[in-house]
């Protein structure tokens, strides 16, 4: 039987990634107001968001190609 693990991980990471993008869409105005502030620790927000999205969406895209069957040919 086919290994279901990558599919489950694809769904899980896709849900997290989708939820993050949904939040971005729903709270666009508030996010833009906070992320362009230059006082205090606000300038860190874009960097933090980039990291969070790269982990969640990066995991999703990785599983996406894996589930499609496109995998690296290990040379080493």
């Amino acid at each position: 039987m086919e290994n279901p693990k990558p599919r489950l991980l694809l769904v899980a990471s896709g849900t997290v990634s989708g939820a993050l993008y949904l939040l971005l869409y729903l709270y666009e105005r508030e996010i833009m107001a906070a992320f362009t502030r230059t006082d205090g620790w606000f300038p860190v927000l874009p960097v933090l968001a980039a990291f969070v999205f790269s982990f969640a969406h990066g995991a999703f895209t990785g599983y996406f190609w894996e589930v499609l069957g496109i995998r690296a040919l290990r040379k080493k």
């Binding site: 992320f35 980039a50 990291f51 790269s54």
Partner: protein
């Protein structure tokens, strides 16, 4: 500095779709050759009405997480020399500062058109010379029938590796080279200067690591992602302190580019090493044509030429079309090589799990 909310555009659905598509293609090329994409992403965002500085800032904010994911992926394939990447990135950061300062001076002395002319001439000169050299090397490898063989270091690289300067020698394990830091420093510096001038430092960094230091193409292009991460990260903080990052643009680009960069990274594992050089040379030479086309426009703005406004508009449109063509050509070569790999059974299709 006050925050710049007034400068941010209303995003239309069409814009979002375009950003996703360009992000994907840019990511695919970056995953494969270590850089690329910025030269189309930034002008594309500007054509949507995004101010130049916000486009640059948002591109940088999408670049560093993209490079992180790409470097992580290619590190799994044993292609990244983290130490070489960090050493290069350290001097590249200094190069970015000097390059940006130089650019500002040109802008002050010669105005916007003078600055644009300088950037375009830098593009044409660097990309034509380096691109032609990379293409010549790729053709030589192909014709020699050694496309499958391990890459040989260039004569320059062999000389660089033979120079022993006590106290400065560094060993880079994955790249399998031992060179003096006195050679990596100017190379990283030049990468940074170019990055701050034309936004794509990898066009110097990758050929430099290949032909000057003697790193294999696969390792050089993968290591460039470490440099891109460091420079993108630093640049994002710099612009974020002025409230200039449009996080929506950065994250939408990231949504497409993370699909692309993973596919590009996977692609490197089943193409012949010289294909990296083919893609790189093709993109560099087409981008050189694109930038060459706008040189007469800037010369007209500076009063050195007399072109009709319609001719200038046509040249600018043709220039942008060539940028898109560069990215598309790179992507088509990558996907075609992957399909060839697929046909030859190189891609491992989903295997049944062991019971």
């Amino acid at each position: 500095m006050e925050h710049a909310a007034a400068q941010f555009i209303d995003l239309q659905h069409g814009n979002v779709l375009a950003l996703l598509a360009i992000g994907f293609v840019g990511g695919l090329v970056s995953g494969f050759i270590g850089s690329g994409g910025a030269f189309v992403l930034t002008p594309a965002m500007m054509s949507m009405g995004v101010p130049g500085v916000v486009a640059v800032a948002s591109n940088l904010c999408h670049k560093f997480p993209k490079a992180l994911v790409g470097a992580y992926q290619r590190n799994k394939f044993g292609q990244v020399d983290v130490k070489l990447g960090l050493v290069m990135a350290a001097s590249a950061t200094a190069g970015v500062w000097v390059g940006a300062d130089f650019q500002n001076r040109i802008k002050l002395d010669f105005g916007e058109a003078g600055s644009n002319l300088y950037v375009s001439l830098a593009f044409v000169a660097v990309l034509t010379i380096v691109g032609a050299f990379v293409l010549r090397d790729a053709v030589r490898v192909y014709r020699s029938g050694e496309a499958d063989a391990q890459e040989k270091a260039s004569r320059l690289a062999l000389w660089v590796q033979s120079v022993e300067i006590p106290g400065t020698m560094m060993h880079f394990k994955t790249a399998n080279i031992r060179v003096s830091a006195l050679f990596t420093l100017p190379l990283g510096f030049a990468t940074g200067v170019l990055a701050s001038t034309i936004a794509v430092g990898g066009f110097i960094g990758v050929p430099g690591m290949m032909y000057v230091l003697g790193a294999p193409g696969l390792v050089a292009s993968a290591t460039e992602l470490v440099i891109a991460f460091v420079m993108g990260f630093g640049g994002t903080i710099k612009y974020s302190l002025h409230g200039l990052v449009d996080i929506r643009l950065a994250l939408i680009l990231l949504a497409g580019s993370l699909f692309g960069i993973q596919l590009g990274a996977i692609g490197t594992t089943f193409v012949k090493p010289f294909m990296i050089k083919v893609v790189m040379a093709a993109i560099m030479l087409i981008v050189a044509v694109s930038r060459g086309l706008v040189v007469p426009v800037y010369l007209t703005e500076l009063g050195r030429l007399d072109l009709a406004p319609s001719t200038m508009a046509w040249l600018q449109m043709a220039s942008f079309a060539f940028l898109v063509l560069a990215l598309c050509t790179g992507s088509i070569i990558i996907i075609a090589s992957m399909l060839r790999g697929h046909r030859s059974g190189a891609i491992t299709l989903r295997e049944p799990a062991p019971d």
